[in-house]
């Protein structure tokens, strides 16, 4: 009997130790998994670009098209008051930012683009992580929209885009966003006041 109790004791002890240590380890391993995925994705992106696109300009617009596409999906999810959809669309946007290759631009523009992407990535990460807090997502969408507008001002866009402004958005401080349609659909107020806003500029 005594040996049985001893074994149980030792087993329990090692169990507690394993749990307390694996709890720390888990975080690290997911981290490295994520990194692996990212590099794989990046690898993919490069393969496509060398195989399918010989023309530098075509490559540039395709890559910025992925950013615009992700942004517009996010914008439309916010218009529909859909936080989960916004979070999912922003994951695509994050990948598009990672894959963007600024080689064609001048060094000064590259620096500007790097700053924009760094900031936009921060905003996007918050939007991804807060699927259940749409008000918080919208706060970061204010900053992200500014970034994406500055971004396409530098890279240009093949798609027709409208820059809209609503003075009631962002706690009445006013905020801008990009839209693919001329008609106003407000991503900051959603169904509360879908029609608030005016077209400020066309790209």
């Amino acid at each position: 009997m005594k040996t049985k109790q001893k074994t149980i004791g030792i087993l329990l002890l090692s169990l507690v130790f394993t749990i307390s240590f694996t709890a720390c380890k888990d975080v690290k391993s997911t981290d490295s998994n994520e990194k692996m995925e990212h590099t794989e994705m990046q690898g993919d992106g490069h393969e496509h670009s060398s195989e399918e696109m010989t023309n530098n300009h075509a490559m540039q617009t395709t890559e910025s098209a992925a950013i615009i596409d992700g942004y517009l999906q996010l914008k439309n999810a916010l218009v529909a008051d859909d936080g989960t959809g916004a979070s999912k669309a922003t994951e695509k946007l994050l990948t598009a930012f990672q894959n963007f290759d600024a080689d064609r631009l001048t060094p000064a523009q590259q620096k500007e683009i790097a700053d924009i992407i760094e900031d936009a990535t921060t905003q996007a990460e918050h939007i991804v992580e807060n699927a259940d807090k749409i008000a918080h997502q919208r706060e970061h969408f204010v900053l992200l929209s500014k970034d994406v507008i500055d971004f396409i001002s530098l890279t240009g866009t093949d798609e027709k885009l409208y820059q809209d402004f609503c003075s009631m958005a962002d706690d009445n401080k006013g905020a801008v966003w990009l839209s693919e349609t001329k008609g106003i659909k407000n991503p900051y107020l959603g169904s509360k006041m879908l029609s608030c806003g005016t077209v400020q500029k066309e790209f």
């Binding site: 329990l12 002890l13 130790f17 700053d115 760094e118 900031d119 204010v142 706690d171």
Partner: protein
């Protein structure tokens, strides 16, 4: 020996054991020129509030509470500080691009306005870090001026 006794004993052994695992300390005594207070002209009033309510988790210098010495609490605090600094580090604020600085100021103002920061779990033990309405007004007024400027 009863099973419950074994469990309590082994937990005790683990608890005592982890006290001997060395923990890191976020306590740089040097104030770098990239520090928020050097990069910006901050009123004395606002500086005190920032340092009391934000700097413990968002700078390279933490004033530790006594229970930082007790594991696993201390380890949890360190994790917390690492995450906090990744999000926003006042000690490195001056190194951020001007775009990032402006976005950070906006995000700080939003978090204060929404009552999200400082975290309630932090102010629970640090009553003096809790922002009063007056503290909030001081910070928001200053931040607003910087964001517009």
């Amino acid at each position: 020996m009863k099973i419950s006794k074994i469990i309590v004993l082994s937990l005790l052994v683990v608890f005592v054991g982890i006290q001997f695992i060395p923990n890191t300390r976020n306590q740089s005594d040097m104030v770098p020129i990239s520090d928020f207070m050097t990069a910006y002209v901050v009123s004395k009033q606002a500086e005190i509030v920032f340092k009391t309510s934000c700097y413990d988790c968002h700078s390279n210098h933490t004033d530790y509470p006594w229970y930082h010495e007790i594991q696993p609490v201390g380890r949890m605090l360190e994790k917390h500080i690492t995450d906090g600094k990744k999000e926003l580090n006042f000690s490195e604020f001056g190194l951020y691009s001007s775009r990032k600085q402006k976005s950070a100021l906006t995000a700080i103002a939003n978090q204060i306005k929404d009552g999200e920061m400082p975290l309630w779990s932090y102010t629970l033990m640090h009553r003096n870090a809790k922002l009063s309405e007056k503290d909030k007004a001081i910070l928001l007024l200053w931040l607003d001026k910087m964001i517009r400027g």
